[in-house]
């Protein structure tokens, strides 16, 4: 089928200073699952002038339709999740101390000592850690369970933070030369990419953009968004771990890192399979073929664990052929992730080009 597609003349949308500033705003917004309002407000402001129809559904998904032109247009759903992992306050222990739970997949080992922002007013707090002066040798050997961690907001802010408030990692977006650092690259990259795609949608498709909620707690928003859109195929834009740090193991076979998942700088990660989805082979061929035809750097994400909104989307209704494309990022689901600007640019270029080359023949 690939051979029938001829290269479409198109110009890829640019990622310049304005787009990076928008990504910064999106990354600095706090939107722990179930409380996506801050990101949703930015999305609505950005896409309204460009959309044929905009709707916020009952769960809080932003559903944007941008109709194309001409005959035989595919209805293509693109999804990016607005929420991020974080914490929720569960018990007020007075004097500024709060117990908390994690929201989404967080390794408790990396929490102690991290500053956080709580609630809409961004009350600053810190997940307290015992100073090294007072730590016994055997304590250093053991991990600190969630039950013994507290968020300390300082007694003055006691009344401002309350049970049920969410807390996000207090990490501001920073540009580090060719790289970016933020608390929420997963998945503000996807949100920012999808905003650009709505603004610069190729006309050969009807673009159905879903900015989804509650992905990190079980792909809940995407499930209802896919039901509502009932598209012919779906592309999920997400951020996936790069575990490509230099290995310090002994010589021989061991020096090969075989569980890198993806590599920074190697381009957008095309999914063939994860725990939740077997990507439609036709879409895998289309994306790899597009990348090869246009010389866009790309990589196959190592098949294995993890899941994206595609896992919920592809099983919706009578079935929706789906694929995920991710920007690789290091240290995801911790207080600070790092990714390459170039990988983001190539992701936008690849997805835009792949859309522009889509014809209904792909489903034959």
């Amino acid at each position: 089928m690939e051979s029938k597609l001829k290269d479409t003349k198109y110009s890829s949308p640019r990622l310049g200073a304005a787009q990076i500033r928008l990504l910064e705003r999106l990354c600095n917004a706090c939107a722990v699952s179930g409380d996506e309002g801050e990101v949703r407000a930015i999305v609505l402001e950005q896409i309204k002038p460009h959309a044929s129809q905009v709707k916020v559904d009952a769960l809080g998904n932003v559903l944007v339709t941008r109709l194309g032109q001409g005959e035989r247009r595919l209805r293509v759903m693109l999804a990016a999740h607005m929420d991020e992992v974080g914490l929720m306050l569960t018990n007020d222990e007075e004097d500024g101390f709060f117990r908390f739970e994690t929201v989404g997949g967080i390794d408790v080992r990396q929490l102690a000592g991290k500053p956080v922002w709580i609630g809409k007013e961004r009350i600053p707090g810190v997940i307290g850690a015992k100073p090294i002066h007072l730590t016994e040798d055997d304590e250093l050997e053991h991990k600190i369970p969630l039950e013994s961690l507290r968020i300390d907001v300082g007694s003055a802010n006691q009344g401002k933070a309350k049970i049920g408030d969410r807390a996000a990692f207090a990490t501001s977006f920073t540009r580090l030369g060719p790289s970016l650092r933020s608390k929420a690259l997963d998945d503000r990259f996807g949100v920012a990419t999808l905003i650009e795609l709505v603004k610069h949608a190729p006309e050969n498709v009807d673009l159905l953009a879903a900015f989804t909620v509650q992905e990190e707690v079980g792909l809940r928003g995407a499930r209802v968004a896919a039901y509502a859109f009932d598209p012919q195929l779906a592309i999920v834009l997400d951020c996936t771990p790069a575990n490509d740090m230099p290995s310090y193991q002994a010589e021989g076979w061991d020096e090969q890192n075989m569980l890198y998942n993806t590599r920074l700088g190697a381009g957008p990660a095309i999914y063939v399979a994860d725990r939740g989805t077997l990507s439609d082979p036709r879409l895998v061929r289309h994306f790899v073929g597009t990348a090869e035809a246009l010389g866009i750097p790309h990589q196959i994400r190592q098949p294995g664990g993890g899941a994206t909104d595609a896992a919920a989307i592809h099983k919706q209704r009578a079935g929706i052929p789906s694929i995920s494309i991710s920007v690789p990022g290091r240290y995801l689901h911790t207080a600070a992730s790092i990714a390459r600007l170039e990988d983001w640019k190539n992701t936008l270029a690849l997805v835009h080009a792949a859309l522009a080359r889509l014809t209904p023949d792909i489903l034959l």
Binding site: A273, Q302, H314, A318, I320, P321
Partner: protein, 332 residues
């Protein structure tokens, strides 16, 4: 029917890559069905019968995918690391052979482990395709393979890498051959991606919107030395599922199957499986809910390269299915 079984089980088609087996099945059912379509995920949906006022809309599902593996890494020397597609156990892999969809073949072996009596992890295993560098390895990351093992006919007992669930597809095809007129509107669904989470049956059931659903799949048995304790044996007839981890079969469906078997003097066993699930549970929870059950073929060594079934059980499953379908369904 053995020729049909051999053809079906020797076809390589792991979950998500069911094109080859779908083409084989399409060829077998051509002319036996009134309508045939392939849905968005690749399920083959075949209709037989127009339905009548007394009849029901029945969905039968047998999954055509099989477990397999997918390449995750090709190292400098051309060895391939892999992950599982569906439930693949490391202890059944060592020394086994796989065939990739691109035709390449290789053998699975593992890193040396100090304790030879301990099973390795999947991460310690690799595929040797006879290559000596990444450049001459015929496999790339994301390529898919299934286990390769020829069909073995022991007369009464049959062995294959993919009885789960090609034997179910064989039962559906043979049922189509034997079923004459039916008052029901019957959808024979050859589903995809069962082994990775009943995904195909989920979307097929939404598309078909049946009144009643039956999966046809394998189940375990409790008749091997110091094996799993279970009241199902090979050769005592097809099993009527009462429950597994994912479904409590609709008691009316169980009763319908039991009384039909007894009326026709066909052997059957009742099945209580304490693990696993089949397409039946996906059908049951579709839309506003569907009465569902499962006709099981007892099978030993499931998800190993040598799954064994009893030929009489297979033929009796066909006879029971024909009896179930040829008359209007009365659920008590």
């Amino acid at each position: 029917m053995k020729e049909l079984i051999k053809t079906l089980v020797e076809t390589i088609s792991p979950s998500g890559y069911e094109n080859p087996i779908r083409q084989v099945i399409q060829g077998e059912v051509e002319g036996l069905v009134d309508e045939m379509r392939v849905d968005n995920l690749g399920n083959l949906i075949c209709r037989k019968g127009q339905g009548t006022p007394q009849g029901s809309k029945i969905m039968l599902a047998a999954h055509m995918d099989e477990i397999g593996i997918m390449a995750t890494h090709v190292d400098d020397k051309g060895f391939v690391r892999f992950t599982s597609i569906g439930g693949v156990w490391p202890q059944t892999c060592i020394g086994g052979r796989v065939r990739f969809l691109n035709g390449a073949s290789g053998v699975i072996y593992g890193e040396r482990i100090d304790d030879r009596y301990r099973a390795p992890t999947l991460e310690q295993l690799y595929i040797d395709l006879g290559a000596s560098s990444r450049a001459d390895c015929p496999v790339r990351v994301g390529d898919v393979a299934a286990f390769e093992r020829p069909f073995l006919d022991l007369g009464k007992r049959l062995i294959s890498k993919a009885m789960d669930d090609r034997i179910g597809t064989a039962v559906l095809i043979e049922t189509l051959r034997q079923l004459g007129d039916t008052p029901n509107e019957v959808y024979f669904v050859f589903s995809v991606q069962e082994e990775v989470g009943l995904r195909g049956a989920t979307t097929a059931a939404f598309g078909v919107a049946p009144d009643l659903g039956l999966a046809v799949d394998v189940t375990g048995s409790g008749d091997t030395p110091k094996g799993y304790k279970m009241e199902v044996s090979l050769g005592k007839g097809p099993a009527i599922k009462v429950r597994d981890s994912y479904i409590l079969s609709d008691p009316r469906v169980v009763q319908w199957m039991v009384s039909t078997a007894e009326t026709a003097s066909l052997p059957y066993q009742l099945e209580v499986l304490e693990f696993g699930g089949t397409d039946a549970s996906a059908i049951q929870l579709s839309r506003a809910g569907v009465p569902a059950g499962c006709l099981s073929i007892p099978c030993r060594y499931i998800h190993s390269p040598s799954e064994m079934v009893d030929y009489d059980d297979v033929q009796n499953a066909v006879r029971l299915l024909v009896e179930l379908l040829r008359q209007p369904v009365q659920l008590g």
